[in-house]
Each structure stands twice: as C-alpha cells, then as structure tokens.
Subunit: 398 residues, 3 copies
C-alpha cells in the first residue's frame, strides 16, 4: 500500500475522539465509546498497512508486555506476543506454576511487583462465571493505586484476552473482518447476523464469544439474532446491553430457539458451542466448595443435555437458507468439525473447508487489534505517532 | 529529572574505582569493594533517572540474558527480565525440566553451550546449604575457562539472584532504598538497624536475606543487630564478616535473642523468618542421602520448633518501641501477614498496611540494581557509556 | 577481524548461486545444492566475523521466531534462540502442553495461526521414524498454502532442528568446524572420516546424526566410512544418497562392522550411539498401537542388544590407530563419557577431555549456521544486506 493512502487513513483516524483511551484498559467493548471502537479499528488497519508495506510500527525501544493465561491458549497467546513484538515489547509470562503467587500473595502485591517495566498486562481468565472480569478489575485497581502512590512511573494497560463476560480482542477482530469484508462500516446497515449455539461433544466452553458478539455487533446497524436451545441462555446483563445497542443503532436484537430461523436470510453466521450460563454459575459454585463429585455429576448432566441438540450443526442445508446461500461463515477457532476433529460437531466439514480462507483472515486481525489497543492506551498522541513512524519510514527488515 | 542533574550523577560516579567489575561476576557483596558497591548504587540511580525521564538506557542491540531458577520466583524473575530488557537483552530461560541437563551433562559443558551469545547468566539456587554459591562458582569457572580457551568471545557475567549464602540483588536494592529514604549515604551514620527473625507457619526459608543484610548494612556506619531465638543462628562466616565490617566502619554489629531489644530505638526493622543454619545443613545431608523420611521428620521438628516462637511477630506494640515509633519497616516480600496470608505470621496486618508504599518502593529498586550490575560488568567505560546515552537522548517510547 | 577481510568474505559469497533458498525451508542438506550449502557456510562465517568484531548483524526490527520442540533440548534450543536474537527476532515457544493443539486442531490451522508475524519456525521432532520430517513438510505445505491464499503476507521459513532423517543444523555446524579446522574446503580432499556407532547405556537415540553426517560429508571429497555392529543399520535411502554423493565427489563411501577398521588412519572420528533403524520402526509402530508393554519389551531387548557391544568405545588405544594418532574427535554432545556421565559409554574420559576445546568450538558454529539459514531464506539480496550492515557498522554493544 502506498504511503499516501496510509496517510489518509491516519487523517481519518484523527476525526475520532479517543482521548479517554490514554492510560486506560481495554475490557468490555461496551465500556468503550463508538469513537473509541472506531479508532481501534482504524489503528489496527493502519498498523497492518504499515507492516505489510515493510515499515516497522515499533514504538518502544524497550518495555515488557506481561501475559497471564489462566486457561490454555494458542491463538490468543501468539496474537498477544505478536502485538507486543510488533510494537517493541518483550513478552514475559507470569506463570502461576513457576512463581510464588500460589503461596498466599495478594493480587495487589503481585500486580505491582511484576509491573515496574510493564506497558501492558494481557490476561485470560475465562473459566469461572463472576471471576475473570473481577480479577482483571482487581489487577487494574492495584496498578492504579501503585501508580497514584508513585511506585509505578507508568500505569500498565490491561488487555482482556478473554474473561467470563467478554472476549474483546476476539470480537473486535471479528468485527474488523466483517467491516473489511463488506468494504466499510457504512455497508453494514441492515445486514443480518446469526450468532447461534452449535453442538459440540466437549463441555463447558466459555460464554464470552456469544456475549462479546451480541454486545458489539449490535452497534453497527446490523440485525443480530442470538439462537440457542432452551436452557443455553447467556448473561441477561449482556442481553440488556445488546438490546440497548440495537435501539440506539436503529436495528434489531432478538433471540430464538431455532437455528434454522436465525440462519434464514442471514448475511453472517457464527455457529459456536457454549455452556449454559446457569450451569456455569453452578460449576463455579461447586469448584468454590471443592465439590469434585458435584462437578463430575454436572459435567455428565451437561454432556447429556448437549447430546439432545446434535442437530444444531452448521450444515450445507442450513447454509443454503442464508442470503443467496452465501452467508459469511465465522468462527473464533478451533471449531469442532464433524468427521474431522470429532464425530459430530459444530460444523460440516465441507462448509468449514469452503470458508477456510475467510476464517484464517478473520483470525489474522487479532494481533493488529491488540496492538491498536496497546498503542491507543500508551500514546497521548497516537495519530502524530503514526505519522512520525510513516515519515521516518524505518524498514522492518533491513 | 532534567539532564543536567543526571549528568551530575554520572560525574559523581566517575569518582569511584570500579575497574575490577569489568567482565566480572556479582556474587557476595562482601567481595566487592566499597567503591564498587557505591558505583552500583549510583549506576542504578542513573538508569532509573534516565528511564523515568523517558530516555532509553539500552546498550545492547542484541544478546541474551540467561536465567536459571532452581527455586520458584516471581519478583526476582521479573526483576532480572526487566533489567535485561531495559539494557536490550532477550531473556532465555534455562529450564532444567525441558532441557537435557538432567541427563548427566556436566555443569562445565552446559554453561558453555548456552553462553555463546550470552552477556549475563542470572542464577537462583538457594535451597541447600553449601550448594548454591558453589554451583555459581562452578559455572563461573567454566565460563572463564571457555573464554580463555577462545570458545566464548565474551565471558558472560554471573549475577547471583539468591544463593545459600547471600542475596545480593535483594540486599543491594534494600540498601539503595535506605540510602534514598534518608537522602544519602552520609545520613546513615549511627542509624540503628534491627535484622530480626520472625515467626512463619512455613518452614525452611533461606538464610540468604538475613546474611546478606548483616554482610552489607554493616558497611555504612549503621549499628546492626541480628535478633533471633536460640538455635536460629546464621552462618558463622557471615557473622565474622559483619563484625569485621562494623569495626572498619566504626559501628557495631551485635546479636541478641530478644526481638524487643533489637527493636528498641531502631531506625530500621527487617523482621523475617528463616530456618536455622544447622537444620538446613542437616536437611541438605538428608536430601543428599535421599532420606525422604528423615526430611519429613526434620520438617515436623522444625515446624514444632518454630511454633515455640509465635510471639516473634512485628506488632504495633513492638513498632512503638522503635525510634519515635516510626522505624522504617522492611521486607523482601512476600511477607506472612497475620490474618491475611496466614493465621499468624511475621507481621501484623496493620503494620504491613501502613508500610505498603515504602515496601513496594523498596522492591522497585531491584530491576535497576541488576541492570547496574550488568552494565558495570559489560562495559569497560560505564560512565562514558551513560554520558553517550544521555547525549543521544533516544526516547524509550517514540 | 578487520572490515576489509569481511568484505572479501562477502565478495566470495556472491560467487555462489543461492537464489533458490529465498523464501524456502532448510530441511535435509541433500536437497540443497552445493552452492547453497557453501553459501550457508560463508554467511555463517561472515555473521560470526561481524559479531566478533562488535558489529550487530541484526536485520529485523521486529518479527517472531517460533520454536516447536517435541523432544528435550538444551543446545539446539539455545542455538535457535541465539540465531533469532542475533538477527532481531523474538523467540516464541509453541508449547503443545500450554496450547490447545492437543485438542484436535489440524496442523494446517495451527501452523497458520501462530505465523502471522513469524519469519521462521524451528522444529525438533526426532522421536519416531517416518514422523518428524513428514510433520515438518506438512507444516511447510500449510504455510505455503496460507501464503498463496493471501493470509500470510510472508511465508515463514522452516528450519529442521532435528528430525527422524537428518539433523541439518548439527551436521552443517560439524562440517563448518571441519572446514575451518583444516583451513578451507580445498584442504579436505582425501581426508578420511569415520562415522561410527558407539556403546551407550541409554537406548533409542535418534539416527539423525549419523544419517546427516554421511549425507553431508560425502559431498566434500572425503572418504566416509560408516561403522556399526550388525543390526544397527541406518535408513537405506540415506545410504543411497551417501553413495551417490561420494561418486559425484570422486571419493568413497563404505560401511563396515568394525570400529577399529573405521578408525584406521582416520583424520576425523565421530563415535556416537544410535538405535537400529528397524527397531525404531518397530517402536513407532508400537507407540501408534499404544502398545506400552510392547514398547517396554522392545526397550529391554534393545538394551540387551546394546550391551553386547560395550567394546564399541572410543578409547585411547583406538585413537592411536588414527592418522598419526591425532584424528579430530567429534561429537554432537552430550556424550556418554565412561566413568563420568555413566559407568561405560561412548568415549574414554581422557579422550574426551583432550578434545574438549575443539568439541566446544564445534558446537559454537550452530547458532551462526542457523542464523545463516534464516538470513538466506528471508532476504532476496543476502550479500547486499551484509555489505549494508558492514557499512552502517552499527555496534552490537553501544
């Protein structure tokens, strides 16, 4: 891409008000203004354009990006590492196994102790309802306090790499994929999105993706339908946000118990398994009480309950019912693919295969989205910084 | 901080003779001259001033900092990583689990094999009396030999990140905290330091902190008292050093079995649990003989012995007996806080809470101390290097 | 080394045709042309000369080097990390334990997901016959496809860090050691190499080193003899390559069942244990069928079989039979040293000790060989790049 075009993108960025992002965190998307969300997309696109044009978007000569993963991860781990690396930060894992955290340290203390040189702390904590997001806020408060006390010269930015409520880096990447797929935010008005549950032989997948999707995609004038079998509700607070968003944007948010109905004329389908909210609450309670046999019984129940909905699969036949039979199929990956990664799963192998390239492109936005979140939080003058980087024109590879 | 002030700090640095630190290690503080110790403090302060003024103190364009942790660690791990990152080194963990070290490799060979691109090797090995420090010296000898043989173009610098004898990065950070707290080394004459044992429900904590403290703080004209219950002696060799130091500095080193006595009129208190030296020797012997039941029996004995000294707690009442009731409370963290991290521990919750900010500040010096140790060992002309960095004025964040 | 000399080395490099290496992988050496192999040696020597002269050979301002180790490793892990660091890449481990790979992801997907910012992917997968190399090719195909599909802006380069067939980074480092030991490729004609089996009390060591050695060293006009007890055959396909190489180079490749015969008048000896090819095939089959008792039985058999050849040890007496009693002793390390790392092993302690310096020097080439492989694959104009680096003269340490 030529530099004139990148320069125009930066000019477009300056039309947004993103001052509130400076030295702030990125947790739920619905706590960011429309301008802030739009600025994040624009910075992500600019960073990508720069990097793919061979320019280095490195803004840090040194500094740490701390990652704390309380659940397994490949994609998000590498996306965070890629974002940090692109901007010049070294990733240091806070491994609760290796460290002394388990030995009774308070969150406040540990958060401060690891952050003397940190610019950002990326956290994944998605396993227990009512825990992950609270933990991130606890860390944020600790960092805020230590900064106020003069201990931390700079207050690191927390990036929510998936919690029990939202998965902002995923859903922002998903949304940017949609925007670029259709050629701009202005092309989305009236598009129909089906965020639907799908069957998976595994159990207990987080609710953060469906919640994140309905909480974000309702802000762009698209009609969003959440479909799931009875009993697979998501958090009511997030549904309330989706409803509010839709009203403000002049579009619809609705819920159905029919996958077919959701797919009908959909422009975009996002079929994905998740656990019922009530069951996840119950599971958190059982774990808290250290009730292992209760957890096992619940798991058995949930698997049996899941098994009643094996027909919630994204098949060729269902895809034919979408807009011109050509809806954009989305997934956060890895998907449970029928006959490939499991006997029966979320999606038919032929559907998945046909959409492999757009699926991988969807995933490719995440490093840039995370980098944009970091840059907007760490620089008081992001647009000027980007112009400076562009003008200096330092090559990424010499 | 303005650059004129930093320039003055560098000028003050040049008055010390630190030539002996070049291409050398940093193990026990008592093997460093007064000038070398002072230079380390000054470089740490300069690096901090530069970084907090937005200047990058990066001296390496590439190079590795190798970390080898034979015991859990959060703070020291992140301090080492921060120091390396600040100077431009990438940290590579030597994980004895993942590697083939367990398979009969000699220390000499492994040390050389991992060091072709290394500038520094940070080692924590504090679990067994008579082992950790020896291991570091074995690694040092191996690196020396491989350098002499022309295998290693540069001989990496070992930084003792805690051994069985000393914990130099901790105690140097502690000392720099004291110096800056009181406004300079010249303000310390006659101050009274109480390094005291304290009760902890856990067992077998290393002796390296109390030993490091009495071995270092006796060099600054402060009266240092080591207090512990009978049977909790530290290594006699280190006490001999403390006594010698005190004589040379015209101050007192003494020992008592009363916490109260040590606290009396103290300016600085450092109450912290440790295991008795003789018991640690015994434990090392038992482990060597693979005598698991002996280890278990010893642990039980030690816990029972500890339990007899539950009144060795840093309470508000004891604090009132210190100088104006306002001694500086110190701890290497994490502390066993009564009613917070354990039922009964080293310090009352209200005391700990009141000192949280200075405690965190104390910890904040460690990355800079480690970076100073590395810089003084890797550059033949540290002061000129710092002047050059200051004049170039490369921003850490662009 | 002065810059004029380095400039001459770069000029010598330009005489080779290495265009085919650009954006390609480095797997088996025999799939590289003589020019490509020679260019790799020359770039390795140039990078070393630059670094040892204090110049930074860093070509990347950012970018990831991904490492995937499916077997333990110290040397190769650090060599890869060193090579990446030298060139400016941050290493990110793909840890199959921490990630979701185990959960049914396809290789194609994972390979793409981790590679958005990757310049190179180093893989060690040497445990099972017929698996490791195939896996690398599967990853390569996935990356190729994702690049063709426009998902990956650059296709990362795979470096084979040891597979079931070859160990190219080891054998190329070994070969460069030989070249520099004798003062140039032109000095090697007629030299005699003995790649021989040796006894080890451990079992199931990969065949990749002996195979890599006979597949590479037969290309330089040296007579190569492979010696092993009956039943310890290597892969016939690799022997066929060795034979072909030797014919093309006008030298001999032969096999013997006598260690003594192989050592006779040898200039270079490389005694090292490995498992019999047929047994490794059998073991792979047993693991595939999850036949644990079969694996245990096979292990027992193999250890018993090994034990019949305890006299295959590189002793002083055998060394005396080599050219002037002074053959260059080589090993990929760690060696099983009799009376040091095991009761009886591959080499007598006195022999090993005498050759420690050349052994360590042999190992020291690996980081540079890997860096050369990466540079030749990532830059369309490696020689110009090196000239530019030389002219800019950026110091590695400021």
């Amino acid at each position: 891409m030529d530099r004139t075009r990148i320069r125009e993108m930066i000019t477009a960025l300056t039309r947004h008000d993103y001052a509130g992002m400076y030295m702030n965190d990125f947790l739920e998307t619905w706590h960011k203004t429309d301008d802030e969300v739009a600025a994040t997309f624009k910075v992500a696109d600019i960073l990508r354009a720069m990097r793919e044009s061979g320019l280095s978007p490195r803004i840090f000569d040194s500094g740490l990006g701390i990652s704390l993963f309380r659940d397994n991860s490949t994609r998000t781990r590498f996306s965070f590492a890629s974002a940090c690396n692109m901007l010049g930060l070294a990733v240091q894992d806070l491994d609760e196994g290796k460290s002394q955290i388990a030995h009774g340290e308070t969150v406040r203390e540990t958060a401060t102790m690891v952050s003397f040189m940190a610019e950002t702390v990326g956290i994944r904590d998605d396993m227990f309802i009512g825990k992950g997001n609270s933990y991130m806020r606890e860390v944020a408060a600790a960092l805020e306090e230590s900064h106020r006390d003069g201990i931390l010269p700079r207050r690191p930015t927390i990036v929510d790499l998936q919690c029990d409520i939202d998965h902002p880096t995923q859903c922002m990447a998903d949304m940017l994929h949609i925007i670029n797929h259709y050629g701009g935010v202005d092309k989305l008005k009236g598009k129909k999105v089906a965020m639907t549950w799908a069957y998976s032989p595994s159990y207990g997948k987080p609710l953060s993706v469906p919640q994140g999707v309905i909480g974000l995609m309702t802000r762009f004038g698209m009609d969003v339908t959440l479909a799931h079998p009875e009993g697979y509700d998501v958090m009511p607070e997030v549904e309330a946000i989706a409803t509010e968003n839709a009203q403000a944007a002049g579009c619809a948010y609705k819920r159905t118990n029919s996958m077919r109905e959701a797919f009908e004329d959909a422009d975009i389908v996002y079929p994905k398994s998740w656990a019922p909210f009530a069951a996840m609450q119950e599971r958190s309670r059982l774990y808290e009480n250290n009730d292992r046999s209760g957890v096992d019984a619940l798991e058995k129940d949930l698997l049996a309950q899941n098994a009643r909905f094996k027909d919630w699969e994204c098949t060729e036949e269902l895809m034919r019912g979408t807009r011109k039979g050509q809806a954009l199929y989305m997934h956060c990956l890895p998907a449970d693919i029928t006959g490939v990664s499991c006997g029966q799963g979320e999606v038919a192998a032929s559907v998945f295969d046909r959409y492999r390239v757009p699926l991988y492109r969807q995933a490719s936005y995440k490093p840039y989205i995370i980098a944009a979140m970091i840059l907007l939080a760490r620089k008081a003058d992001p647009a000027d910084t980007l112009v400076r980087l562009l003008e200096e024109g330092r090559p990424r590879v010499r």
